[in-house]
């Protein structure tokens, strides 16, 4: 029983972590709280749904295509909105409000195009095989979801820590101006970051859509809240922190449902976040004692 819950917690937490990773990447590198990340999450899920149920594409093509689509949406938001605000050196309030606008726009478009009620993936595509490890059963789907999100996270961490590209991105996170003076194509890497972050957010949407098998225009907002909670728990802008924050949140939620009651699940993420900010504003893994972003 307990082992089963731990498996569920890791599965849920790894998808939260994937979502939070994209969110924190934009904050760390662009210095922007992108409140449309939840909208991109939702569009990613719809893109996968359409590709699978309308165009009858197999899984392994539909998912990458939907990922790229989500990435392009993020890129579009960057080019149309965030780039102009960067050029103007607007205060951090402005991108927040503009991306709220973008999120409202996306939710409303999805509502208009696909209706308000939850949509489902065709049932026959799920095979209900299970993996058995001792007395724990893991549905194959859940195992696949967890594996994919962990692989993507490892890939991102590897890129950021071990490659030239990651080095350049970390230089920008430190100081965009200094990075530009060193000859790093800052603007182009901003676009790339927006693309990658949105692709990760969209993937999280696909995976949540698959694991709960319900996709609705309103699924982005609660996820955005969880993403905010996760990156603050971990420490804003910190990639490792976002991953651990997301995992932690998944574990906390699963155990809150098991041992408390389901009503307090949503309070939990923000209650934790609130306490964390009072106790350690820099997050669990943040180093500096004071931050004034």
């Amino acid at each position: 029983m307990l082992a089963q819950q731990i498996v569920n917690a890791i599965s849920l937490g790894s998808v939260y972590a994937l979502f939070a990773l994209g969110f924190t990447l934009v904050f760390g590198i662009l210095g922007v709280i992108n409140l449309s990340h939840g909208g991109i999450f939702m569009l990613g899920a719809y893109a996968a749904l359409l590709l699978i149920s309308k165009f009858f594409l197999p899984f392994w093509i539909a998912i990458p295509v939907a990922m790229i689509f989500s990435g392009l949406v993020g890129l579009l938001i960057d080019v149309l909105i965030l780039r102009r605000l960067r050029q103007r050196q607007a205060s951090h309030l402005m991108p927040m409000i503009a991306t709220i606008g973008a999120a409202i726009l996306m939710t409303s478009l999805a509502q208009g195009l696909f209706g308000s009620e939850a949509r489902r993936f065709p049932l026959e595509m799920f095979n209900d095989e299970n993996l058995k490890l001792g007395n724990i059963t893991i549905p194959l789907l859940q195992a696949g979801i967890t594996t994919l999100s962990i692989l993507l996270m490892l890939l991102m961490v590897w890129v950021l820590k071990r490659t030239r590209l990651g080095q350049a991105l970390r230089a920008i996170a430190e100081s965009p101006r200094a990075a530009a003076l060193l000859g790093i194509p800052v603007e182009r890497l901003f676009y790339l970051t927006s693309f990658i972050a949105a692709a990760l957010g969209g993937t999280a949407g696909i995976l949540i859509g698959l694991s709960f098998n319900a996709i609705s225009p309103f699924m982005g907002q609660p996820m955005l809240h969880k993403g905010i909670a996760a990156i603050i728990l971990g420490g804003l802008g910190d990639v490792r922190g976002a991953v651990l924050g997301g995992l932690f949140l998944g574990v906390a939620e699963v155990f809150a449902i098991t041992f408390l009651s389901s009503e307090y699940r949503d309070a939990l993420s923000f209650g934790l976040l609130f306490l964390m900010l009072l106790w350690r504003p820099q997050g669990l893994f943040g180093a500096s004692a004071t931050r004034s972003a």
Binding site: I33, I81, R84, L85, R88, A90, H92, L93, M94, P95, M96, I97, A98, I100, G101, A102, A103, I104, L105, M106, T107, S108, L109, Q111, G112, Q221, H225, I228, A229, I232, L236, E263, Y264, D266, A267, S269, F270, G271, L273, F274, L277, L278, P281, R291, S292, A293
Partner: protein, 287 residues
């Protein structure tokens, strides 16, 4: 259409314009002190619930209920303000957003607030002149504040907090004052709101509402007191004006938000831009 039938159709809308004007002003106070606090929707919720419970369960007079609805969120703000205001920028925004969610979920689970169903059958006690009087009093108070030492301290903190502290301004106390004052006005607006909407539910005071209130202030402009009032009126009226767009109504809302941030960064009411226009016209006449 004669007056009384017009009023019975639109009274809620007119009262909402006033109440959301108050809400936009409540967030303007913290913004003018450089604080990005998103707790005002939660303070409004606390004020609404406290005053509604006061009139419904304890049968207190409306004035006393409004007073309680104003004071309770102020006390809450005083308590959470001390630790929370150590944070700044986006951290403060996130913490206050977190506080808002906690308030919402508490309201969802308490018995006295009616749980997920909320409160129904709140007596309709708010008259138009209550809202008008509240607005006028708040505007007079804040106008006096703006031109006082405290108002200048707000501005100093917004421009450069470290410099303000070095000048001998008790920045922590001043920020706390702005936070508490914002909470009081939000609570008052909540108390007024509860007594003409008939019902209250926890969902009314969540993230969307917090964001709406911020949008009102930014859309109207935060250079003075007129901007937030204007923004509150526009955001309240917008759903009515865009009714013909039906399901894409919210999409228009989103587009307007983006457009304002991109093209009118100082908000609609921007005295400096008006002055520039006037100057341009004046030089035209001279030539």
């Amino acid at each position: 259409m004669d007056w009384s039938s017009w009023w019975s159709t639109y009274s809620t809308l007119v009262l909402s314009i006033g109440v959301y004007g108050l809400m936009a002003i409540s967030i303007y106070i913290t913004l003018s002190c450089g604080l990005l606090s998103l707790a005002n929707a939660a303070f409004m919720g606390i004020g609404s619930y406290v005053s509604a419970v006061a009139t419904m369960q304890f049968e207190l007079p409306f004035s006393l209920a409004l007073l309680l609805g104003t004071l309770t969120p102020s006390v809450v703000a005083l308590i959470i303000g001390v630790p929370v205001l150590r944070l700044s920028g986006v951290y403060l925004a996130m913490a206050t957003l977190g506080f808002g969610e906690v308030v919402r979920v508490v309201a969802l689970n308490l018995d006295i607030t009616g749980g997920p169903l909320g409160l129904n059958g709140i007596p309709l006690l708010t008259e138009w002149w209550h809202v008008l009087l509240a607005l006028i009093l708040v505007l007079i108070l804040l106008n006096a504040l703006r031109h006082s030492k405290i108002g200048r301290a707000f501005e100093a903190i917004r421009e450069d907090e470290t410099a303000a502290r070095l000048m001998g301004i008790a920045t922590h106390h001043i920020k706390l004052l702005a936070f508490v004052l914002g909470a009081a006005i939000a609570g008052l607006a909540g108390g007024l709101n509860a007594h003409y909407t008939f019902t209250l539910s926890p969902g009314n005071f969540g993230f969307e509402n917090a964001v709406d209130i911020l949008t009102m202030a930014v859309l109207g402009g935060i250079q003075g007191l007129i901007g937030p009032l204007l923004g509150g009126a526009i955001i309240t009226l917008l759903p009515e004006l865009l009714r013909s767009l039906e399901e894409f109504r919210m999409a228009a809302n989103g587009v307007i938000l983006i457009a304002v941030v991109l093209f009118l960064p100082q908000g609609i009411w921007d005295p400096r831009r008006f002055r520039r226009w006037l100057k341009k016209r004046a030089t035209h006449v001279d030539a």
